[in-house]
């Protein structure tokens, strides 16, 4: 598949999952209209959810999920050693995701509640970046396939990828979506990172900030805006804490 007479590299891609729902992996085989071209542009060599003959020789490792068990740390360290580029893939990998909501309980309490007297191995949830060096992060719960395609194109052509610097509000405007605040709902859109094409507000739900904080957000003005619409700071912080991408604001690690 030549482009401007240049044969692009066809990187060997491996996909790995840890503590998670595998929804981001599933996104890789969604968006069917471009799926065949996408799969031709890369060489998928390791992807447990879809293929049975894995290879340990790969350039790019997409790592999905948060880390919450000792054996996962070992597996992650091995992947880090083998991968030239390690991509934290999805909100769980980038920030720990909703799984970090477990961290307010002790592992003993958590086990007691779910497994009674037969506790299972677990530890406080961490993001991939809290264990190994991450070269690239793709947040989103789930990740946006359109964005992955853009990023993979940049990786193939070795061009630096620039994330959008604007917040989700910008993409809502582009889609002519009515502001959720105007409809009487809380929304993290004014302070959350865009790039997802704002599907939640368009579908009738305020933003929950799964992609983390936008560049240079004005939190003072944002909390004022929320207050004007009748939302307390605690209420807003509770939502910011949901996906773990606002840890610096909420103080919850």
């Amino acid at each position: 598949m030549k482009y401007l007479s240049i044969e692009p590299a066809r990187p060997k891609v491996a996909v790995f999952d840890f503590t998670d729902c595998e929804g981001c992996e599933l996104q890789l085989i969604n968006k069917e209209e471009t799926l065949v071209d996408f799969l031709k542009a890369i060489e998928v060599v390791n992807f447990r959810e879809a293929i049975s003959n894995p290879s340990e020789d790969y350039d790019i490792a997409f790592v999905e999920g948060s880390i919450s068990r000792a054996d996962e740390i070992d597996r992650l360290l091995t992947i880090r050693k083998k991968a030239k580029v390690l991509v934290a893939f999805g909100t769980c990998a980038c920030f720990g995701g909703v799984h970090k909501l477990k961290n307010v309980h002790t592992t003993y309490e958590a086990n007691k509640e779910v497994y009674g007297d037969m506790p299972k191995d677990t530890m406080p949830v961490r993001s991939v970046g809290e264990i190994v060096q991450v070269d690239f992060s793709i947040p989103g719960c789930p990740v946006s396939k359109a964005e992955i395609e853009r990023i993979v194109q940049h990786l193939i052509w070795d061009v630096t990828y620039q994330y959008p610097v604007y917040p989700v509000c910008f993409e809502c405007r582009q889609r002519f979506t009515i502001c959720r605040f105007d409809l009487g709902e809380l929304c993290l859109g004014p302070v959350s990172a865009a790039g997802c094409n704002a599907p939640c507000p368009a579908g009738g739900m305020g933003c929950w900030g799964c992609r983390g904080v936008a560049e240079a957000p004005n939190f003072v003005e944002y909390f004022e805006l929320c207050k004007r619409h009748g939302y307390s700071k605690e209420e807003v912080l509770e939502r910011m804490n949901f996906f773990g991408g606002f840890a610096e604001v909420t103080g919850v690690k």
Binding site: G23, L35, E72, M205
Partner: protein, 425 residues
Amino acid sequence: MKLDLNVDVHHLTRVEGHGSIRIRVQNGDIKEAAWEVIETPRYFEVMLKGKKWDAAAVLTARICGICSIGHTLASLRATENAFGITIPEAAKKLRILAKHGETLQSHYLHLFFLAAPDFLGLPSALPLIESNPEVVAIAARLKGLANNMCDLIAGRTTHPVSIQVGGMSHKPSRRELLALRDELLRSVEDVAATIALFKTLTIPDFTRETEFVALKGVKEYPFIGGDLVSTDGIVKKENEYRAMTNEFCVEHSTSKWCKLSRNSFAVGALARVNNNYKLLHKEAQKLAEELGLKPVNHNPFMNNIAQLVECVHCTYDSVKLIDELVKMPQDEPIRVKVEPKAGIGVGAVEVPRGILYHEYEYDNNGRVVKANCIIPTTQNHANIWDDMHELVKVNLVKGMTDAKMELLCSMLVRAYDPCISCSVH
């Protein structure tokens, strides 16, 4: 007769989540034929504690990337039942339409990408891109249509946004619905090609009698709410689900296990067809008959065929639902006001892999005090284990090699289309 067997499958591929198979046969004695679930636990029931009512479904959707619409629907139903909310008719229809979208995308994903490579002797569906591009094109079109359907009705395929407590937060336009209707009718040709393909595949000949549990349909093939039924004749109310599942912890698995009348039971497409055969759309019934699927069928590999039969049912039922929706007045309400109150509610929903239960106890402020989720694959684990033991036993007599046994047992597990991450939530 072959007297020794050693099979070790660490992290079985082409399934959702982490499970392993271990088989040891010495001198003709089956020492072990184990299906082990080693997925990392996430403790969703703990995360739910203290969460506000409008966060419960957003959170529990994240139990699963494949059946997040099903989890959302079970979660909402639990909350709505706890608050005593009845949702509008139009919302009910839209929810089932979203449910059909999910069933179709999940079944097609499983049939084409996870199960079919086994029958074609391939490690994955990827080689088909070169060797059988027309099959890949059909698979992509069908799965694409199902995903577009989820996007249109639920706002997103994975982790939906438009299905919320009290009803729906977004209604597609009449034009969008009619366009979807056209697409569904056009897809019948691709469905026929899929059926033709699956007719050429040899389904392993294996039966082990077991109990099948599903929602009990009354007038329609069941998807959301209602009584629970088993092929052994047990009938329970939705809120008596614990008596239907009897969940318990085991040492060797991070998922819990379940049992009912026997040592194990099964849920899923085959269980639904076995319990509700007469309620299938007539086109789906016709296909079932052609493919030799009659109730009660006890071959677990026939679950793949049952999935195909359900794809036909969901396609035609979606067209019917759209016809009903476009006849409704444009200003028909799709959501009612939510007034939280203390109470307990259960939601049972048939998701692609079987019956799913969420139960929440709420305090006066509409915050979760206690939560319980019982997942289809949790209910299937014991049955997979028992099937595997029997499968090894009957094929041992045929002198099967380690490699063949490994493939057959892997196919057995895949036939259940297990959602292991779900089962270890």
